[in-house]
Amino acid sequence: MLYLYIWLFPILAGALSWLLKSEKLNKLLILIHSVIHLGFGLALFFPGRRLSAALNIDNYSVWFFAVSALLYFAVAIYTLQQDQRLSPRQSSIYAVCLMAFVASMDGANLSRDLGLIWVFVETTTLASAMLISFEHHKQSLEAAWKYLFICSIGIALAFMGILLLIIAQPATPSLSLDRIIQRGYWINSFWLKLSFVFMLIGFGTKVGLAPMHFWLPDAHSEAPAGISALLSGALLNTALLPLLRMQKVLSAAQLGYLASQLFIALGLASLFVAAVFILKVKNYKRLLAYSSIENMGIILIAFALGDLAGKAGLIHTLGHSLIKAAFFLSAGNLYSLYKAKDYNRCSGLLSRDPNTGWLWLICFVFIIGMPPSPLFFSELYIALGLLASGNYFVLALWFILLASIVYGLGKASLEICMGYSEEKTRLPFSQYLPQAMLLLLAVAVPIAVLLLRP
């Protein structure tokens, strides 16, 4: 039933925009949708969780849903005055796909049935593939194809994992997580292990864990700014969610250690790949994409450690989503200012457009985990967790990789922001507001959460 509610507005609005085909209307519809969405998210989040309890939605879902709602709202505002140079038809397709994309993400976030989660995740791929290929040139087409193809294969493997999970269960198997976790003890460990591996690879492809991350930089760098923000801020978390659920299942079947091992292994791999390419690439959007890979790796490590570090992982997810979204939107500004994606070709941002420049710098500072960024605290707690669990080696590796990532990002950011450019430009206000809002929230929300539930 819940899913009907979620899909109701998109379907209607989609039909409407398809009929009328006017850009203004589309933007308006998107905005309305995002507002409703945000309202629902807040309703889920706030007091006492009555609504979420009624709908049988657990904390993870609420958290991830709220994050995606915030992001969607920000993106909707951002796109208001941005001229996307689209024909009415295209803009309608854009609106429809965007709404479908968001709705399917919600489905995946809110559902507690692995099968449905799978279906929705697959749907997100389809919807967003259209969105990525929007600027019709070779690169965007190629990026979209790679995204579609690799992710479909990954998702197929994830489905295989689901089948194996069914095999693993004794009589009258089911896919609803609660049931599975209840009977966790009787699950056949051999099949469970297999299914976990398949899901890890499958959904991991969508999360962008190395070495299945290859689609990610392409897709994120070629999509329009708003979409990139949604992709890396919301979609990756959505794909991460089933993995976390599976971790719960494994620990219910006394296989938690295995999940932790694999999580840490893949997390380190992602960190490493991110470090390698952040030092290499010159395209700033790809840079941001790689930094998303890195953060996904950190989050995975955090959840591998569990308890306190796990909570830190949630904070990190939130922080990364908001900051990275702001970062991608600022990158959108940068692109519309310089029309170049190579950061050596755009310098002197601070003198050309101070707002974007400072937004960029603050995003940089936040994303590398400098205070007052939430990532600072989360990373602190993750380090605590690593020390407590005696993973000194992992910790040392983490710090070394982090240092080189900081260097790479810093180099790019200074190249972009410093320097001098004689022409001064101003962008419409609605292209600064969302980033500022997101960054403020990134600082405020963790503190608020801390205040509400110490």
Binding site: D113, G115, L116, W118, V119, E122, T123, T125, L126, A129, M130, S133, K138, Q139, L141, E142, A143, A144, W145, K146, L148, F149, S152, I153, A156, F159, M160, L163, I166, I167, A168, T172, P173, L175, N188, F190, W191, L194, P217, D218, S221, E222, F277, K280, V281, R286
Partner: protein
């Protein structure tokens, strides 16, 4: 009876690794669709009309007719060369196929102990189909072939889902098949777009984006 069908399925996989024409693989897809239909009929003990209709739609109409037609159409429309042009020789791919079979059955037999309700032959074939699909993707350059590999893989997964019988909630399986159908449609769409933008649908051309 079921075993025979399974074996035919396996043989079709072997055939896929030696055929030189794209149309050959398309034919294989058709055959596999039919086999899957029959297998479903055999597997499901009690058969109400809805399920029958659904399965028939999913396998016959969709897997065996619609998609192959689509693909053939794309091939014709975009004037894609009709040879498979694999980057490895048939002999080699045959060898790999054998290895895949061996691996699949090894897993199947090993796992057979741990789960009685699983029929090793069935599982082995399904598993090898999945791996074979991946291998076809790896070993070929044409996007269309990639798509076919993906389809073979999907067939393998379908086979596996048959192996566990009707434990899947219908809503899920409905969603699943819808998703797959959509994804294939969109993929075909993209292939058309791509082959109109690029010279020919060759994955070597699609390597502008790299670091």
């Amino acid at each position: 009876m079921a075993d025979v069908l399974l074996v035919i399925f396996g043989v079709s996989l072997l055939f896929a690794s030696i055929t030189n024409m794209l149309s050959g693989i398309v034919k294989i897809l058709v055959w596999q669709g039919l086999i899957l239909f029959l297998l479903t009929i055999l597997k499901t003990t009690q058969l109400n009309l809805w399920e029958f209709a659904f399965v028939a739609l999913e396998t016959i109409v969709f897997k065996a007719i619609l998609i192959p037609w689509f693909i053939q159409d794309t091939i014709n429309k975009n004037g894609i060369i009709r040879e498979v042009e694999p980057s490895v020789s048939n002999f080699f791919s045959l060898g790999v196929m054998t290895a895949i079979f061996a691996f699949g059955f090894f897993i199947a037999l090993w796992s057979g102990k741990s789960s009685p309700k699983l029929y090793p032959l069935h599982f082995g074939i399904a598993f090898s189909a999945i791996l074979k699909g991946l291998f076809i993707i790896i070993a070929n350059k044409k996007l269309i072939t990639h798509l076919m590999g993906y389809l073979i893989m999907e067939n393998g997964i379908f086979l596996l889902s048959l192996a566990i019988g009707s434990d899947m909630p219908h809503i899920v399986s409905l969603g699943v098949s819808l998703d797959i159908m959509l994804s294939i449609l969109i993929a075909v769409l993209f292939i058309n777009k791509i082959s109109s933008t690029f010279q020919e649908g060759d994955s070597d051309e699609l390597s502008i984006l790299k670091d």
